[in-house]
């Protein structure tokens, strides 16, 4: 078999595996240095898109050690964070700039 055909097949397979978009979108709002909702239920073993909207006039940093994510959300801005696929369980997250009030948890089930 032609080598380039094999390469093309491999690349094609990789691209298709990349192509499935995240169907699960969750909107997460930051207001008064708190996350709403503070508990997010998501299906396990699927990719999830978190649409984070910071409605405060100060920036926040979404951070989660267990989700291995860290992203700055400027004042009044929106940003997307992709997480998962997750095993069933609870994954804490917090706002690094206001850790005493900005707390939340992703529950995968």
């Amino acid at each position: 078999m032609d080598k380039s055909f094999i390469y093309a097949a491999i690349i094609g397979a990789l691209l298709t595996s990349q192509a499935h978009a995240a169907d699960n979108e969750v909107v997460l709002t930051i207001k008064n240095h708190q996350f709403a909702p503070a508990e997010i239920k998501v299906p396990a073993n699927q990719r999830i898109k978190l649409d984070v909207h910071n409605q405060d006039s100060t920036p926040e940093e979404f951070e989660s050690h267990s989700l291995n994510r860290e992203k700055l959300i400027p004042a009044g801005a929106k940003a997307a964070i992709y997480i998962g696929p997750l095993k069933p369980g609870r994954y804490d997250f917090f706002g690094e700039f206001n850790p005493s009030t900005a707390k939340g948890v992703v529950v995968a089930e």
């Binding site: 990349q18 006039s57 920036p59 291995n68 940003a79």
Partner: protein
């Protein structure tokens, strides 16, 4: 003030350790301080500009604009470190001879210092923009007095820089014969760390799906937030809960750069 200082310290630490290590690695090169200072200054200036544009950047590409910029910054820094490592290997013989003869390398051997300066600029830029936004947010938020915020920020910054200086001074105690080998390894690990963070950003933005499961979870042993965890993150890229792709990127990058540099050094000393 304490909270402000702590966060500024954390943001500063990684860049300060980076600068400390590359400053030690380029100790014998002429005009090194000038180049590194230029890189840090460029990065600081860029931080202000990027902080001002961050809200726009965030909204690009359906909310992953920041990741796009981070990938560019990390990728460029990685390229510059790789270029420097390879360049030094190719000129290893002349540099050692010059150092023996003159006590330091001649100006012409400054060669790839611009690459190191740009890598420093990228590192300062990445950490700096976040710090600027954070401090500006606190000042405009007004819950804490401006004086208190600025004092906390300055203390955090100075403590971060002090740790960077400590690693530089510590490496200065190493015998010159062994220093080269040690800093070579440290720079390879810095490159691996950049590659690991690159992998995480690509996954966070949903550009790469593969190997997203975590490779291990050592957060109960040594968390990212502990002082040792932060130090190890800055020096060897420690991560308590990395994805498998991060580990793969880390290992491949440091091995690939290290192996290429070795091949080139062997060839140049043989010639």
């Amino acid at each position: 003030m304490f909270g402000t200082g702590l966060i500024v310290f954390r943001e500063t630490l990684e860049a300060a350790l980076f600068v400390g290590i590359v400053a030690a690695a380029t100790r014998t090169v002429a005009h090194r301080t000038r180049w590194l200072a230029l890189g840090a200054a460029l990065g600081a200036l860029g931080s202000l500009l990027m902080a001002a544009a961050m809200a726009q950047i965030s909204s690009w590409a359906n909310g992953v604009g920041q990741d796009l910029v981070t990938v560019a910054i990390l990728g460029f820094a990685l390229l510059m470190l790789a270029w420097h490592t390879i360049w030094v290997s190719a000129h290893a013989r002349e540099m050692t001879e010059d150092a023996r003869r003159l006590g330091s390398s001649a100006a012409k051997e400054a060669g790839a210092l611009w690459a190191v300066a740009l890598a420093v600029a990228m590192t300062v830029l990445r950490e700096g923009a976040e710090t600027v936004l954070f401090v500006a947010g606190l000042v405009s938020g007004g819950t804490e007095g401006t004086g208190s915020v600025m004092l906390g920020a300055v203390i955090g910054l100075m403590l971060g820089v002090a740790v960077g200086w400590l690693i530089y001074a510590g490496l200065g105690k190493v015998q010159p014969r062994r220093l080269f080998g040690i800093t070579n390894v440290l720079i390879l690990l810095l490159a691996g760390s950049l590659a690991s963070q690159l992998a995480r950003t690509l996954q966070q933005a949903d550009w790469l799906h593969w190997l997203s499961d975590n490779a291990w979870d050592s957060s109960s042993l040594l968390s990212n937030d502990s002082l040792l965890g932060m130090l190890l993150h800055g020096v060897v890229g420690y991560d308590a809960n990395p994805s498998q792709l991060q580990v793969l990127f880390y290992v491949l990058t440091s091995v690939l750069i290290g192996w290429s540099a070795r091949q080139i050094r062997l060839r140049s000393t043989r010639a």
